[in-house]
Amino acid sequence: LADPTRRRVVELLRDEALRASTIAERSGVTPAAMSRHLRVLRRAGIVTVDTPDDDARVRVYRLQPERLVALQGWLDQVHAFWSEQLGSFVDHAERTRRKPET
């Protein structure tokens, strides 16, 4: 999600499901590069692929907002966890050791 292209994809899919070619075009990246990004998002369950009712030949990508929010919430939790652990690590290291001469 830190990747700007993937954030752009999420934004584009916020209002409507779109074809891969449309997403690539509107993001200004090549279809091949977009295909890689979409694969990552699909693997994480953030987007799904389906066929609109009116045209069985078309495949569109759809945002799964609950999944996106859950993932972001989870990443926030892990970030807070390590921030706290590393803070404790720094305190301990600096309390028990002399600072290097700089």
Partner: protein, 148 residues
């Protein structure tokens, strides 16, 4: 490999890299705060230590023989390169990569936790508690981030 579910935390610690590495590994039991997460170091634990080699384990000790005497394996070391780098993989197959770089004021410690795009079961169960409002807030935040 694309990193969708990864988290990075950077701190500066006022000791040299070799000392930082030593404190991080040998003394993990003195600074690691138990009870913050379920992955390892739970409240029932009485100690935490690294086996200092590639393939070594991060072992959690428990009182009363609950750990089988040897300790419970919480993670496995995949890179042991003092004083520069340590990587370990936990039992959910997520990877923690810690780098120690000389910096003004001591050592820059960069910790990256990867492979988080598979949600742990408890978090997945919490899905329903989040709503669109929070999603909207998140969008606003990252849109602002893009503008600046």
């Amino acid at each position: 490999m694309s990193q969708l579910g990864s988290v990075r935390v950077t701190v500066i610690v006022g000791v040299e890299p070799a000392v930082a590495f030593q404190v991080f590994t040998e003394e993990i039991d003195t600074w690691y705060r138990r009870g913050l997460a379920e992955s390892f170091g739970r409240k029932r634990a009485t100690g935490l230590r690294f086996e200092p080699w590639v393939g070594g384990r991060l072992l959690e000790h428990r009182a009363g023989g609950e750990d089988g005497g040897d300790g419970l394996e919480r993670a496995r070391v995949t890179v042991w390169d003092p004083p520069a780098r340590l990587v370990f993989v936990d039992q959910r197959d997520t990877e923690v990569d810690v780098r120690f770089e000389a910096a003004a004021g001591g050592t820059r410690v960069v910790l990256e936790h990867r492979g988080l795009d598979r949600l742990p079961p408890g978090v997945a169960a919490d899905l329903g508690r989040f709503g669109w409002r929070r999603l909207a807030e998140w969008f606003e935040r990252h849109l602002e981030g893009q503008r600046t």
